[in-house]
């Protein structure tokens, strides 16, 4: 009966698919390709109502095989993609986008641009929400490629400008690219998402043409709009922009303060700390101490010599001046039950000494101050340092011994 026939057909289709899957997962591209040629038959009698249609499967599997097959060429790949685009209306834009990505990764920028332009002009009935998103992405990538063309022309002009001779046609072209790029890039970055690449390019365009207000507004929106994800890069871009603009220390610090609040372990925290340490205001120096302590809480900073030297320097200053010892105490209190095991164990003392002497020097200084001269880390490192007759370790030992009463007040 026809029902049975359908059932059998489905079964053999599924079996074929599982063979293909097996071959793909074992990197047997030739075998997978052979099975795929059989699977193509399933297109003819497509009874399935599943949300993934056979044509999508053929597109996905075929693409994967052509990426890896030893005998495939770019020409074949393009040909296959063109066929796949006509196979399903719903997926046209998605296939176009993926095709463009592949062209871009293979350095075929011009072909990619052509494909994007073609896809952009595609219309079919009413667009679904997903298609709308895909269309926006296509436009944005075209904008991005326009930006690269603009940037190329700009470089040509700058080089020529050095020669003291300018080319009007090139300049015209450049402005044309600017307009095309700006329109498309501006559109996509309004929608909530992660658009690092597009934002950077758009801001670059705006800055070149001197539209700093617009650039600032774009970056502020990208960083502070609550509909966007909490992307640390948004704050970094804003900070870098403010720095380029030569803004005041105060606004730089406030930008970094927000970054510190959302990502205390960001690498810019070292810059932030140095900036704050230089400040004359007590409150800022206090914040600096907090920032560096917070950064060193994270496992990724454990062996960062730069961060440890920042902390060592600041702690040393405080101990010498004997002012604001309570700052250290306040920072140390919530950490004293786990920092010794996390940072200042004997095992780490040994390993740091073997791997990075200057790191162990900075850490030993901090350990000596925070935990006193009997701390395992300090004892091991200073002993090794004195044995190796390194002068600065001897100085370190003297320093900690001299200030031991102060240290005890902190740890007590």
């Amino acid at each position: 009966s026809s029902h049975e026939h359908k059932l059998n057909f489905r079964k053999s289709k599924e079996a074929c698919l599982s063979y293909i899957q097996d071959a793909l997962l074992q990197k047997q591209w030739k075998r997978a390709a052979e099975f795929l040629t059989c699977y193509v038959e399933s297109l003819e009698k497509d009874y399935s109502r599943e949300h993934v249609s056979p044509s999508e499967m053929i597109w996905r599997i075929g693409t994967e095989i052509l990426w890896h097959h030893s005998q495939s060429s770019m020409k074949e790949f393009n040909c296959f993609m063109e066929q796949m685009k006509t196979l399903g209306v719903k997926r046209y834009l998605k296939v176009c986008l993926e095709h463009v990505f592949h062209l871009l990764c293979n350095g075929q920028i011009d072909e990619a641009y052509q494909n994007l332009s073609l896809a952009e002009s595609w219309r079919f009935g009413e667009q679904t929400a997903i298609q709308d998103k895909e269309m926006k992405l296509i436009q944005a990538y075209r904008g991005l490629l326009d930006y690269y063309s603009w940037s190329k022309k700009k470089n040509i002009l700058l080089e020529h400008g050095e020669d003291g001779f300018s080319d009007l046609a090139v300049e015209q072209e450049m402005h044309g690219y600017f307009r095309k790029a700006a329109v498309n890039l501006k559109e996509i970055i309004k929608i909530p998402g992660v658009w690092d690449l597009f934002v950077k390019c758009y801001v670059d365009l705006l800055e070149f043409y001197g539209d700093h207000n617009e650039a600032r507004q774009v970056l502020n929106e990208y960083a502070y709009n609550s509909k966007f994800p909490a992307n640390p890069n948004a704050h970094v871009y804003l900070y870098q922009f403010l720095k380029r603009q030569g803004e005041s220390k105060k606004s730089l610090i406030s930008a970094l303060k927000i970054l510190h609040d959302i990502v205390p372990s960001h690498e810019l925290m070292i810059d932030f700390n140095t900036m704050l340490q230089k400040s004359k205001k007590r409150k800022k120096r206090r914040l600096g101490l907090e920032v560096i302590f917070a950064a060193l809480d994270y496992a990724g900073w454990k062996e960062n010599a730069k961060a440890w030297s920042c902390l060592a320097r600041q702690v040393k200053q405080i101990v010498i001046s004997e002012k604001h010892l309570d700052w250290i105490k306040q920072e140390w209190n919530p950490r004293k039950d786990w920092w010794p095991a996390f940072h200042f164990s004997r095992y780490l003392a040994k390993r740091n000494w073997q791997e990075n002497k200057s790191l162990s020097y900075e850490k030993a200084l901090v350990a000596g101050i925070l935990l006193g001269k009997d701390c395992k880390y300090f004892k091991y490192v200073s002993h090794q340092g004195c044995k190796a007759q390194l002068k600065r370790f001897r100085v370190l030992k003297k320093f900690v011994n001299r200030h031991n009463p102060v240290c005890l007040r902190i740890s007590g």
Binding site: V52, R60, I61, S345
Partner: protein, 885 residues
């Protein structure tokens, strides 16, 4: 920590799942996802782009054709966990019902019956004792005694029950009135535990077993851990795994990493009070801390860094509700996190004890019925992640109520599908301090805690079962990180590679962005080796299949660098307690190799693993040897259950009646002799060790080749093939002289005429020689049980010499003539039904063989066929599911 200067583009939406869901079979292929400019482009003429997926990865190739056992099977037979067919109701009627509806029907009555049979003391103890005298179970008529009035004969009732059993599944089955009457009479008082209560408990247990069959999340995380050797030390690591019949023994086994890893010395062993569900390990300050989770207990062990140091148990906690998670801190020694199914998360420190961080029986982001909870550590030693099926949160242990943020939500934020749920979260700290792996049944996500909610990587893994196990192998700077995903029921293993350099190459912005590299790769599973094993006898094959297809229970792996040679060792643990291992070797970038042998499908038994060592890589010979050892040890440990005690008191009087033992009209001399011997043996109450030939001269060939009554050439040929006389048969067939043929034909006709008279049992013992040689061959496989000192009697001609089977050849022993014991053949021989079983048991006693002396047949692969007979009788008991009683 360096954050990537630019991330891959993506839309971000908040809210519930939007995308239509369901497992998409090929969703992981053929997509780049997004592209990003690859840093160097500015100065060059053209920008260079890198894809999110599709970058070239490292080439890893399996060194062997299948996974190889690392450890010998542990002593004591494994009890398989219940399979669907044990729990579900099966009958013709219900199959139709089931096909229509998705709901499964649990076979409640059968399980209750099992309980009554297996635990009669618990079910009917006191009343059984009280009524003991009033029930008569014998066959004969009740004698007229004083007790006659107070005793009932139960035989008829038992017969009724048996008949009922025989009609099981018949649509027109109706209860015998006698049974109904009996059950009506005693339902209220016979049972030790009130029937309703018992039924409730059983039903609850059945439901639980069924749901754990559908998806067993108690195994999440896996119960296998590998403690790598110290840097630069000897290549001896330690494998921590559960074992024993109930998986309640914890082993610390030293393993030497050579071409094939092998165990060194005997393992340190700890007996625990529950089945081990999870073994988690982390190395802090050169010491390994191992957390072990069973349902109601969690324990922690410490293994000092020195090789060969003994593991020391540190602390144990007990929970009222089953624990669902135990992870060990990679930052601070002796810190763990524990979650229970009541929705509580604890930070457990060896020094300060338990600190409850949160208690919330509800799920976090939307309602989900699963009580499963998970927790792990993050880049900050005081911040723990907390997961349920709906997502992940991070909470600060210093102020868990105030300080927390959402790390992952099943929803639009991560572009999840409908029905998608978190299966396993894992901290990827050893590769990148701020990254996290989250697997769902559809996809695998990499998250960065500095950019919460937006996955930095997402890929549809297409696995058939949800990945319950994951293992990370961090790559050196500039190399890919490797993640292994493992599923339980299907034993799938998938190798993924991704790039995410931490403290990245600071010049290139996108260098440190997270990318999936290469294509995912399927690794060998334990069950995959089945097709490479030498051909087994059918029942052996079945046992082996059952053993090898047991769900996976854990996963561990290690990278090994030996100069330019890099290799990866992947260990997989099964629920049966087997640990298998496979080696993958790293291939430097080369043009794709020509299709190797693995492109061709391998036929069973003809695997490269078992080829002659000359034609295969050096490792293969060792692998084959390893398999042989493992198979031998398995056959030794998984021998039948201990002898039944009733064997000694087997009644012979009731076995045969006078009429049965009376032979047919004209038996030949051989038959007469054999019958005599049989009678003698029965009178003496002994057993027949072997059927010694009286006529030393072998009977004429046609006799041996053709069993009585079977005349077609195909059967003859097959019989010859079984007896390995096929060549001879062919010769006979081609070179038979006409005279000989005529003689054979005459002989046949004569026998045909006699065939009618031969419907008695005794005739079957002597009627054909193949069977006779069969028996003698069976008793040849070991020294006689009763008189060990007696020199073996030379075996009959035609039986292959036992013990001469070589390593590489298929088993040479023919299959036992089980047809003789089948009820059908017994019936047609006129044996009454009630005696067939007794007879069968009796026959199995004859063919019984003492245990094989160790080392006597070191190279023998095949299992003596005697075992097949024995285990065929013990088989039905073994298959019964073990319920929670």
């Amino acid at each position: 920590m360096e954050f990537p200067a630019a991330l891959f583009s993506s839309y971000f939406g908040a809210g519930p799942l939007r995308e239509e869901g369901g497992p998409a079979p090929v969703a992981g292929w053929g997509e780049h996802g997004q592209v990003l400019e690859g840093g160097l482009g500015r100065r060059q003429a053209q920008p260079a782009f890198v894809p999110r997926r599709g970058a070239t990865g490292e080439r890893w190739e399996a060194a062997d054709a299948a996974a190889v056992p690392v450890l010998l099977p542990s002593a004591g037979c494994w009890i398989p966990s219940p399979a669907p067919q044990d729990i579900l109701y099966r009958s013709g009627l219900c199959r139709k019902l089931q096909a229509g509806k998705s709901g499964a029907i649990l076979d409640f009555a059968r399980q209750l019956g099992h309980f009554f049979v297996d635990h009669p003391e618990d079910a009917f103890g006191s009343l059984g004792r009280l009524l003991h005298k009033n029930f008569y179970l014998g066959n004969s008529k009740l004698k007229v005694t004083v007790s006659r009035n107070s005793t009932i004969r139960m035989t008829a009732l038992l017969e009724d029950i048996e008949r009922l059993e025989a009609r099981h599944g018949c649509p027109r089955q109706h209860l015998a009135s006698r049974l109904r009457w009996f059950s009506h009479l005693c339902r209220d008082w016979l049972f030790e535990v009130p029937l309703g209560l018992l039924a409730d408990c059983l039903h609850e247990e059945l439901m639980q077993q069924w749901s754990s069959l559908l998806f067993d999340d108690s195994l999440t995380g896996g119960a296998l851990a590998w403690l790598p050797p110290e840097d630069g030390g000897t290549p001896v690591g330690c494998l921590v795994h559960p074992g024993g019949q109930a998986m309640n023994h914890l082993y610390f086994q030293d393993v030497v990493l050579e071409e094939l890893p092998h165990a060194r010395g005997s393992p340190a062993q700890f007996e625990l009070s529950g089945r081990i569900r999870q073994v988690a390990a982390a190395r802090v300050d050169g010491e390994d801390f191992i957390g072990v989770r069973s349902d109601y207990h969690c324990g922690v062990w410490r293994v000092p860094g020195k090789t060969g140091a003994a593991p020391a148990p540190l602390q144990v906690i007990r929970t009222d509700v089953p624990a669902s998670c135990l992870t060990v801190s990679p930052h601070l020694p002796g810190e763990l996190s524990v979650c229970t199914q009541s929705g509580t998360i604890y930070l457990w420190s060896i020094e300060t004890g338990l600190q409850q961080l949160r208690h919330d029986p509800q799920t976090m982001f939307f309602r989900d019925h699963s009580p499963w909870r998970w927790s792990d550590f993050t880049a900050h030693p005081r911040v723990l992640s907390y997961a349920d099926r709906t997502g992940l949160q991070c909470l600060d242990a210093r102020a868990p109520k105030r300080c927390h943020f959402d790390l992952f939500k099943v929803g639009e934020e991560a572009g999840c599908q409908q029905g998608e749920r978190v299966v396993l979260p894992m901290y990827l700290g050893r590769a990148h301090p701020s990254q996290y792996l989250v697997t769902t049944q559809f996809s695998v996500y990499v998250l960065d805690e500095r950019l919460p909610l937006v996955p930095v990587l997402k890929w549809a893994h297409m696995m058939k079962a949800p990945p319950l196990f994951a293992h990370l192998m961090p790559g050196n700077p500039g190399r890919n990180h490797k993640v292994l995903l493992g599923a339980s029921r299907t034993q799938e293993l998938l190798l993924l590679q991704y790039q995410a350099s931490f403290w990245g190459v600071s010049s290139g912005g996108s260098q440190s962005v997270c990318q999936l590299a290469g294509t995912p790769q399927k690794l060998h599973s334990i069950r995959g080796c089945l097709q490479h094993l030498p051909t087994q006898l059918p029942h052996r094959h079945h046992l082996l299949q059952q053993r090898l297809t047991a769900p996976a229970a854990g996963l561990a792996a290690t990278l090994q660098e030996d100069g330019p040679h890099k290799s990866m060792l992947v260990f997989q643990l099964s629920e049966a307690g087997d640990v298998f291992c496979q080696r993958l070797t790293h291939k430097a970038a080369q043009p794709p190799a020509p299709p190797s042998r693995d492109e061709a499908t391998t036929a069973p038994g003809s695997s490269p693993l078992f080829e002659a060592p000359a034609s295969s890589p050096p490792g293969s010979g060792a692998a084959a040897l390893r398999y042989h050892r493992w198979l031998r040890a398995l056959s030794r440990t998984c021998r039948e259950p201990p002898r039944h005690t009733w064997l000694a008191s087997l009644s012979q009087r009731r076995l045969f009646t006078r009429r049965d033992l009376e032979g047919p009209a004209g038996p030949n001399s051989l038959q007469r002799q054999m019958r005599q011997r049989l009678r003698q043996a029965m009178r003496d109450g002994g057993r027949i060790q072997r059927w010694e030939p009286v006529a030393l001269q072998p009977p004429p060939l046609p006799e041996t080749l053709e069993p009585a009554g079977v005349l077609d050439p195909l059967s003859t040929r097959l019989t010859a093939a079984w007896a390995e006389d096929w060549e001879q048969w062919w010769e006979e067939r081609t070179s038979f002289s006409v005279a000989q043929r005529q003689r054979v034909l005459r002989e046949r006709r004569r026998r045909q005429k006699r065939a009618q008279a031969r419907r008695s049992l005794s005739a079957s013992f002597t009627s054909s020689l193949p069977y006779q040689s069969e028996l003698s061959e069976l008793s040849d496989t070991g020294p006689p049980l009763l008189s060990p000192g007696r020199p073996p009697i030379p075996s009959l001609e035609g039986s292959p010499p036992a013990g001469s089977a070589t390593v590489c050849s298929p088993p040479t022993t023919p299959a036992p003539d089980e047809a003789l014991l089948s009820s059908q053949s017994l019936r047609c021989r006129g044996i009454p039904k009630d005696r067939r079983k007794i007879l069968r048991d009796y026959l199995s006693v004859w063919v019984e063989v003492p245990p094989e002396p160790p080392g006597s047949q070191a190279s023998q692969l095949c299992i003596p066929s005697s075992q097949s007979q024995l285990s065929s009788t013990s088989q039905p008991r073994r298959k019964r599911p073990r319920m929670g009683f």
